[in-house]
Amino acid sequence: MVVHLLQQRQCKGNLIMTTKHFTANVISATKVVPAGKFENSKASGVWDLSEQFDLVKGGNWPNIGNPATRALFAGGYGGGATDTVDTLLLASAGNATDFGNLTSGRYYLSSGGAASSTRAVYAGGANNDGDRQNIIEYFTFASTGNGTDFGDIASTAQSMAGCSSSTRGIFAGGET
């Protein structure tokens, strides 16, 4: 995290405010000790109240922003079973763009895909003929592209619920 440290210094008798840029940990056990005099040097430590006041007043206090999380919306019914996968970033409003394609057009997918920090996984659904599917496939958030086979659910099914922890995905209920 880069913070911009507002500094006071004297110049010909006048108080001048300048900005220095540091890579900082906002909270740690020791006081701020910049590793160098110039911008982008490291400054780990605790920001004391006067330092924080200057940073806040200067509009430079670092905030935890809206993470640039990628969202995917896959498949569905768009006049027929679609294989389109849309993507967008949750941090900024805007229209979706193409991410890739499911291995086949399906709707009634697991209502929420299961997701880890790196993968989105979709299961089941119905094809354009209305036939239920047992497909599990995944996408890697970091790179656009088409779905890759992951494995199979126990039997063909549609309209399941999906959710996940960082390590496990579950698919519940549905119609077989």
């Binding site: 896959a74 679609t82 949750l90 659904g125 922890s165 579950i170």
Partner: protein, 190 residues
Amino acid sequence: MAYVDTIQFITMASAGNATDFGNLSAGRLRTAGFSSTTRGIISGGMNSDADNQNILEYVTMSSAGNATDFGDLTVARRSMAGLSSATRGITAGGQIPGGRSNVIDYVTIASTGNASDFGNLTADAANVAACANTITGLISGGNFDGNPSRADVIQSITIASTGNTTDFGDLTVAKRHHGGASPAAASVQG
């Protein structure tokens, strides 16, 4: 054709077939799912008698087993979307008898209890999909009043507060019965 109560799981990091995890309290379809790093919650849906359900039940993600009662949605419905931050789970829209719902309700995932009102979608909608990070939830597509076939609308909410959705953008094509995914609750602790 059968409405099933089965819960299956996969290990995200390694491809393979799904394995039995446990069972819901009853067979239901068109439920919504959301999760924290520790709990998965299944909400609403429709049972084999075609009755919409207000059931919220949960599983502990790390240990296989049957679902346990969590509480109730504010409105029984099916074909909703589920999304969550690491702490708050949200169920949005859905099909109700005679129409669609604009209801968004929420629960605190770490505790149990009934859902509370969060706000409303821009219009009554069902068959929507959702995803989220720790801050923003998106609800997309679906059947909307005024656009009953399918919509390309993407709406957003701020998960930590309550309120109605606002316009975020559009899908590349109008669709319904799709799936949303994002690495939110799974990867980032709020």
